[in-house]
Structure formats: structure tokens, C-alpha cells
């Protein structure tokens, strides 16, 4: 394209620095919000006002912010569930199933300690809480591990596998918590029994301790990928399986381990939401909603280019917009599903802008 004495040219990027990727993403977000304004215009709502409401509720309002942070922790775990296998070139889209089983496993610990029937049962949180966290991780890891094992041994397509496992887990939860299920709430209502008060997760400024696990995992994962031999092997396998095999890296081991770890991360998301968020403390009837939400881990992973640290702001943004969007939908009397529509537009724009991760536009002077 030519403008006066200048010409716009599309060029392939040789390198992409972290800050460039961040800048591109930031630009994409602005474009997405601009695009989404059309929806507000159509609903005769001033988009600036709508965005102000969304952001101020999600990030400055005391109640909104707490909701945002809880979503953020959940999404961050779900993102790691995607990122770890993705670094090895494998696709985990089974975070929902893994988190369901993680949650079930955590509640099974409470069940085993007899904490099902009484809200006031006195269980020692120093023993039971860590066990719940471990069980959640193990439960998620188990589901992930099945996929990883079959992928590694028989080279079955991991996308299909993890998706099928999602269905199985979904119905397993229903079986456990609905009428007649062992985890059934004494009042019925299609949800699980509530945790006894003694097992409510400790809060830090109103935020469950799981935030430490989530942020700690980010740092740990970054360290593993960057510095350790194990992380190196995962990345090498992800870049080129034949080259990795040549170097002596065992595909089976990598496939199994990344799915165990990824599944475990999803399991933690399950514990966090159903076991640690104030006011929930049970596997809610709407658990399917959170299963769906966990798929945003895939998007967050793709946008952050599988970088666990970059995933932090991305998950925070998605968590905030899902809360803010829902709030504005109610406040401005807009149609149902505004939050998901907003996340959807954001997702498409961000993915489309990844074009600029690989290409750049340069402006050059044309002589004569």
C-alpha cells in the first residue's frame, strides 16, 4: 500500500521479544473493546459508560474485586492445565473433567473424615485441608494421566481422549451429588454436601490461600521450563518429537508427565472454586458453568504464548471481564450472556492479532 511518499510493507518477523508480544496483546484488547462497543450502541447504551462500569466493578469495587480474584485463580489453574501439555506440543482440552474429579476427590477426603453430615463437625484443618488439596491434585492428575498414558503408549489422539473424559467426569459428578448419590446434600437441591465450617479455607484479605498456590505455580513452572532439565525435555519434545527422540528423550514419559501435571493443575482449580471460595464451599448445582469457564484456560494459554508468567495478567483480565460483564448485564438491563459474548470477542481479536506475532508492518520511504 502506498501513501504519498511512503509505502506500507508486510514483513516476516525474525524475532519476537516479550514486550512486543505484550504490546500487541494490549493493542488487541483495545481493538476488541472498540469492536464490542457496537453491541452497546445497538442496545442504546453508551459504551464508555458500560466499560467504565465493567472495569470499575471488576477491579475497584470491593465485592467485584473479590469475585474477580476468585475467577482469576480458577482461570490461572485452568491455564496451567493447558500450558504444561502445550509446551510438549500436546493439547489438553480436558480441564473441565479434570477439575470435576479434582473437586470430587477433595470432597471425598472430607467424606472419609465423616465431615458430610454436620456443618459444625470439628475436623483438624491442618490435617484435612492439605489432604484435600493433595487429593484434588491427584484426582485431576489421574484423569489427565489416563489421557497422557494412552497418548504415550498407543498414540491415541489426546484431544478426543480428553474431551471424552470430560463427558464421563461430568456425569460422574452428577451421579455423586444428585439425589441418592453419596455426596448428596442432605437437603437435596442437586448439589453436594457443604464443607463443615472448620474446613473453610483460610483467607488472606478475603482471598483464599489458593492464590498463593496459583501464583507460586506460575513462578515454579517458569523456573521448570527455563532452568531444569525436565523443562528442557518438555520443550524439546514440543518443538520436534523426532529430534527429542534422537536426543534420548522418551516420548511416553513426557506425554504421561505433562498430562499428570496439567490434570493436577485443573484439579486444583476444582478445589479452589468449590472448596475454598467464600460462600460456595460445595460442588454447586451450576458446576457445569465452571467447567465451561475452565475452557478459557485454553484461550489464556494461547494468548500468553504458553508463558506461565504472562498468563497472570491475561487470566486476571479474563476473570475481571467475566465478572464485570455479568454485572453490567444486570445493571444496564442488557441481554443474557453479555459476559460470554465479551470474552468471545476478546478471544477472537487476540487470536487474530497473533498474526502480528509472526509478521510486522513497516513504513518505508519510496524514492522517486
Amino acid at each position: 500500500m502506498r501513501i504519498g511518499r511512503y509505502r506500507l510493507k508486510l514483513e516476516k518477523r525474525v524475532t519476537l521479544a516479550g514486550w512486543q508480544a505484550a504490546l500487541i496483546s494490549l493493542f488487541a484488547i483495545v481493538v476488541a473493546l472498540a469492536l464490542f462497543s457496537i453491541i452497546f450502541f445497538l442496545a442504546h447504551v453508551n459504551p464508555l459508560r458500560a466499560y467504565k462500569e465493567i472495569f470499575s466493578y471488576a477491579f475497584t469495587n470491593r465485592y467485584g474485586l473479590l469475585l474477580t480474584v476468585n475467577r482469576f485463580i480458577f482461570l490461572l489453574f485452568a491455564t496451567f492445565a493447558f500450558i504444561i501439555p502445550a509446551k510438549a506440543g500436546l493439547w489438553n482440552i480436558g480441564m473441565s473433567g479434570q477439575l470435576y474429579i479434582g473437586a470430587l476427590a477433595a470432597f471425598a477426603v472430607v467424606y472419609a473424615f465423616g465431615g458430610k453430615n454436620s456443618q459444625s463437625a470439628q475436623l483438624n484443618p491442618w490435617i484435612v485441608l492439605p489432604l484435600m488439596v493433595l487429593a484434588a491434585f491427584a484426582g485431576g492428575a489421574l484423569v489427565g494421566g489416563i489421557a497422557g498414558y494412552l497418548k504415550g503408549k498407543l498414540d491415541v489422539n489426546e484431544i478426543v481422549l480428553t474431551m471424552l473424559l470430560n463427558f464421563i467426569a461430568f456425569w460422574l459428578v452428577a451421579h455423586m451429588i444428585k439425589e441418592g448419590g453419596p455426596f448428596m446434600n442432605p437437603q437435596g437441591r442437586g448439589e453436594s454436601f457443604a464443607l463443615p465450617k472448620s474446613l473453610h479455607a483460610p483467607l488472606i484479605f478475603g482471598v483464599p490461600f489458593t492464590i498463593i498456590l496459583a501464583l507460586g505455580s506460575a513462578v515454579l513452572l517458569e523456573f521448570v521450563f527455563r532452568k531444569t532439565s525436565f523443562g528442557y525435555q518438555i520443550r524439546a519434545f514440543g518443538q520436534s518429537p523426532p529430534a527429542a527422540r534422537y536426543a534420548g528423550i522418551r516420548p511416553f514419559r513426557i506425554a504421561l508427565l505433562v498430562f499428570l501435571l496439567g490434570g493436577g493443575m485443573a484439579g486444583l482449580a476444582g478445589y479452589h472454586y468449590f472448596g475454598a471460595v467464600p460462600g460456595v464451599y460445595k460442588i454447586a448445582r451450576t458446576y457445569g458453568y465452571f467447567g465451561d469457564l475452565s475452557f478459557y484456560g485454553i484461550i489464556c494459554g494461547l494468548i500468553s504464548l504458553n508463558n506461565p508468567i504472562a498468563a497472570i495478567p491475561v487470566a486476571l483480565l479474563f476473570g475481571g471481564l467475566s465478572i464485570g460483564g455479568r454485572f453490567v448485564q444486570g445493571k444496564l438491563h442488557m441481554g443474557f450472556g453479555l459476559d460470554y459474548a465479551l470474552l468471545g470477542v476478546l478471544m477472537i481479536t487476540l487470536v487474530a492479532f497473533q498474526f502480528f506475532y509472526r509478521n510486522k508492518i513497516v513504513l518505508e520511504r519510496v524514492d522517486s
Binding site: 502506498r2 510493507k9 514483513e11 525474525v14 524475532t15 532452568k227 531444569t228 532439565s229 525436565f230 528442557y232 525435555q233 520443550r235 524439546a236 518443538q239 520436534s240 523426532p242 529430534a243 527422540r245 534422537y246 536426543a247 534420548g248 528423550i249 522418551r250
Partner: protein, 532 residues
């Protein structure tokens, strides 16, 4: 934007060459003027001027990293020059993508094959063809393709899957693909580096036929000087991105070309050090295996290599060499036989265990197997060190140490690159080979399996690598040298084992070996194993 070629139809009336148009021999049909291309840290091409006449074979020579591939990528629209102009049939053109170049009748066969492995040969040939997408009569296309291939002496099976093909067969497919798309200017980047002597012979004949038929005009790029002398009309020599000589082939000698390329005289003969042979390091007993197609590829191979000994496997690619190397490296399952290393049965040992016990493997497939393009050079060096106690403590890699090692290897092996943090994909073909070699040699393996170690290297680097192999021998390594270059095998090896259709045809001490005999054995005649 007048005079600028565009792939989009209807825009400024793109100039389309008439396929029937004949050019007078000697007429300039392609011209590159003052082409400059910079990459971060290097000027790959500096004010290069190059022209090509109809019916001419114009060879481009240069050391590894001299800028040959870059120049041809620009000509093929894969890279855009920072400065300079290209004229095709006298018209100025701007190629935004290879499609633009293809539409102008330019075809390119890359140094590293770019076919889709899972697809058939035929699918690969029509992939991206202007006629694909419209209703295609596959049968007709198949016949056309086969006819085209036969016309120039290429034998290809249109229904075979690409992953089943040898390098030479893939090459033929790429050329036929370009021709089928109507290429009239054919660029071949190191066309013979992966070919067998017979295939090379064939290819050269085909190239000459194409050039003389007035249909194809072929500049090509190679390190094999005798080949350049045999078929080219003119030679352009590049050094560090600049043209240092343009010569008529009839005026030059091999020695002169070598000097122009390297900037100093080059040794063509190396002295083999006299090393006393030690204990047997590798013993292979009756080893058999299958190839990727599931057919027998290696049929009962038996041999032994001792400390300080080089055993040369001479043979035309696709006769089981790759499978042999992979079996020894632990990458391929045996269907029979045993392998002993230092007297220990390692038939079942894992790849990693073999690396750890001192087996080093330099694979021929350097892009897909030997390196990881998206990784930095440091990370590529780590491919053979991520498990090594000298580089890893408690599972944590000492990246500072890996960086130091990489820097040393870059200097020692003269790898031309902006630095150790550059991605492997930015290296030129020969430099990539150097870094792989350097990294495997740095392990000081007791057994070195070197598959086509000098393939694609310039003569300076070739000399260097051969020296390095002899150095390893002097240090007492046992070396299995797999090569298609008979001269190389004969000058480096202590014993030579020609291989044909998966069978070792005999093992002959190098000082008793005659080239004709080895050649005959490589083609299938058997000589009773001579005792040394």
C-alpha cells in the same frame, strides 16, 4: 505500482510469460541488480548482481554462510531484499511471495526438502498448483506427471507416501513438482548434496537436457566442484555476502575455484594418522531391521570396530545405512541379532543410556532430527548435554556453562552466526551441520556414528570436519563413517564395508581397496570377506 507484478488478478494487468515463447540462447532472461539483504547481526547479501541467460547453467558457489540460499530465496520471493531490483524477461518485478515467482515461471528446489510427509507424491505435486481446487482428473494428472518425470529420467512412484522416500527420491519429486507448475527457470539449492552418485549422474544429465531444450534454465549451487566444472557454463562465487568472482567455466580449475571461495589454498588430501588399533568397541552380530515401510532394510549385518579405527560404510543412500545408524543409536528396533558395546550387550539399551555410555550419533537428517529450529544454539547444544552431570546438577541446567561451551564450539568449528543465542533456523545449512557435529564431538564419544558428516559443507569446512574425525580416531574413538562420497570413505577409513540392499557385501582394508571394486560392491557384486 506500475510494472510491479502482482499475484492478484486484474491488478495493473500482471505480466504473464507465454509458455510457448522461446528465447534465443544467450538472451538474458533474469537479472538481479545490487541486491542487499540484512539479518540482525549479518549482511547476508551485499550489492549482489547476477544474471542468467537462456539455455545456460549458471552455478553459484560459496562457503557455508556466504549467502547463496538467501540470494535464491530472494529470487524465489521467500525473502524480500532490503535494496536492489530483480528483472525477469526484461521486466522489473517485485515478488511478495513464492506464488509471484512461480507465476513468472520460476521454480525452486530447496536445500532442505519441504514436502508434506503424510501425503502421497502426487498430492504433493498438485498441492498449491493453480489447477488444484478446480476439478482435477487425478488419473490424467498422474499420467502427465509420470510422463514429465520420465522425460528427464526421474523415476518416481506417484502413489508412494513422501515419508517413505529416500532423500534422492524426494529431490526428484521436488523437481518434477516445479516443472509441473511450468517452471522455466529452475533454482536448485545444493541439488546433489543428498544424492547418490548414480542419482547425481542422472540429475546432471537431466539438468543439461533441460537447459539445452531451451525450456529450463538452471542456476545451481553446490560445493561439489567437479560437478560444477562438468556441467556449468558460468560460475559466480560469493564470499561473505559479496560477489568475489564471475567466471566462464572453461577458464577455471578446481583449485582456482576453491581458492576463490575460501580465500586460501585448500588441501584436497588429508594424512590419515597412524593409530594403533585397540580393543573392540562395537560388535554387531547378524543385525536385521525393517525400514519405515515395514520392509527388510538391514539383513544380517555383522562387523566390529576397534579403538582408533574408522569403518567406512560405502553405499548409495537408501541401502540400509540410515537404518543401521538408527539401530546402533537405539532409535530403531531390531528384528534379529545382537549389538555389543565394550563387550556389553546393548541390544535393548535405551537411546539415552547409549548417549551416556559414550555413543555419539550425527544424523544425516540435520533439520528434522539433528536440530531444533526454534531453539537457540545453546539449547541445540544441550540436546546432547541436558542429561550430562557436567552440565546438570539436581535437575537444574547450568545455562551459563552451556553458553560457554556453545561459544567455544562456535569459535572452534568456525560457525558463522550472530551468536550463541541465535535460533538454529537462522543458520545456513553448512553451519547447522557444523554445530551438530561440534556438539556430538564435544562429548568425546567412544563410538562415533557419523552419517554423511560432510554433506552440504563447503570445501574448507569439509577439510576441517574430516580433520576432526581423524582427530577423534587419534584419540582412540571407534568410528562408523557412513558416506556416499567414495573418495571420502576411501581416504578416511581403515576398512571399507560397501552396503547394498541392506547387506554388507564384504569388508576390505582400505589400503587394498580399489575404487572400481568398491564401486562394483556398492552396486551389488559380492567379494569374499578379506581377512585383515
Amino acid at each position: 505500482m506500475r510494472n510491479v507484478l502482482s499475484a492478484r488478478k486484474g491488478e495493473d494487468m500482471p505480466f504473464v510469460p507465454d509458455p510457448q515463447q522461446r528465447f534465443r540462447p544467450g538472451e538474458v532472461i533474469l537479472e538481479m541488480r545490487n541486491i542487499t539483504k540484512r539479518f540482525p547481526g549479518v549482511v547476508a547479501n551485499r550489492r549482489i548482481t547476477f544474471d542468467l541467460r537462456a539455455g545456460e547453467i549458471h552455478a553459484i558457489l560459496g562457503e557455508n554462510g556466504a549467502g547463496k540460499t538467501t540470494l535464491m530465496s530472494i529470487l524465489f520471493g521467500m525473502l524480500q531484499p532490503d535494496e536492489g531490483e530483480i528483472y525477469v524477461y526484461g521486466k522489473k518485478v517485485t515478488f511478495r511471495s513464492p506464488l509471484d515467482a512461480i507465476n513468472m515461471g520460476i521454480g525452486m528446489v530447496h536445500q532442505h526438502r519441504k514436502l508434506v510427509s503424510a501425503h502421497t507424491v502426487l498430492e504433493n505435486i498438485i498441492l498449491g498448483h493453480p489447477r488444484a481446487g478446480k476439478v482435477l482428473n487425478l488419473k490424467e494428472v498422474e499420467e502427465e506427471v509420470v510422463a514429465l518425470a520420465e522425460k528427464y529420467g526421474f523415476r518416481i512412484d506417484p502413489r508412494a507416501r513422501v515419508w517413505q522416500l529416500s532423500e534422492g527420491e524426494k529431490q526428484a519429486v521436488e523437481i518434477v513438482k516445479a516443472l509441473y507448475r511450468g517452471a522455466r527457470i529452475l533454482i536448485l539449492d545444493e541439488p546433489t548434496s543428498a544424492l547418490t552418485p548414480q542419482e547425481t549422474e542422472h540429475l546432471l544429465e537431466s539438468i543439461v537436457t533441460m537447459a539445452r531444450s531451451g525450456l529450463g534454465v538452471v542456476p545451481f549451487i553446490t560445493h561439489k566442484l567437479p560437478m560444477v566444472l562438468a556441467v556449468s557454463d558460468r560460475v559466480t562465487v560469493l564470499r561473505r555476502g559479496e560477489v568475489v568472482a564471475r567466471l566462464e567455466t572453461k577458464d577455471v580449475t578446481e583449485q582456482l575455484l576453491a581458492e576463490k571461495m575460501v580465500g586460501r589454498p585448500v588441501l584436497f588430501d588429508l594424512k590419515k594418522p597412524d593409530v594403533p588399533l585397540g580393543r573392540p568397541v562395537l560388535r554387531v552380530e547378524n543385525v536385521s531391521t525393517l525400514n519405515d515401510k515395514g520392509l527388510p532394510a538391514l539383513k544380517g549385518a555383522s562387523f566390529e570396530i576397534r579403538e582408533g579405527e574408522i569403518l567406512g560404510i560405502a553405499g548409495v543412500s537408501g541401502n540400509g545405512q540410515r537404518e543401521l545408524a538408527e539401530v546402533l543409536a537405539g532409535l530403531r528396533k531390531l528384528t534379529g541379532g545382537r549389538i555389543y558395546f565394550d563387550g556389553r550387550d546393548i541390544t535393548q539399551a535405551s537411546v539415552l543410556d547409549r548417549w551416556k555410555m559414550g555413543i555419539g550419533y550425527i544424523p544425516a537428517e540435520r533439520k528434522d532430527v539433528g536440530s531444533i529450529g526454534e531453539f537457540t544454539l545453546v539449547e541445540n547444544v544441550l540436546m546432547n548435554f541436558y542429561f550430562d552431570p557436567s552440565m546438570v546438577q539436581h535437575g537444574i541446567i547450568d545455562y551459563a556453562k552451556a553458553l560457554r561451551l556453545t561459544k567455544e564450539l562456535i569459535i572452534e568449528f568456525g560457525v558463522s552466526t550472530p551468536g550463541p543465542e541465535a535460533k538454529a533456523k537462522t543458520l545456513s545449512g553448512g553451519n547447522l551441520q557444523k554445530i551438530i557435529l561440534a556438539r556430538v564431538m564435544a562429548r568425546r564419544p567412544r563410538l562415533l556414528i557419523a552419517a554423511l558428516p560432510t554433506q552440504g559443507l563447503d570445501i574448507g569446512a569439509m577439510e576441517f570436519v574430516r580433520k576432526k574425525i581423524l582427530e577423534a580416531k587419534a584419540h582412540g574413538a571407534a568410528i562408523l563413517l557412513i558416506s556416499e562420497d567414495l573418495d571420502e570413505v576411501m581416504s578416511l577409513s581403515d576398512r571399507i564395508a560397501p552396503i547394498y540392499e541392506g547387506e554388507i557385501m564384504g569388508i576390505i582394508p582400505a589400503d587394498e581397496a580399489k575404487k572400481e571394486v568398491i564401486g562394483a560392491m556398492m552396486a551389488g557384486s559380492r567379494v569374499e570377506e578379506t581377512q585383515q
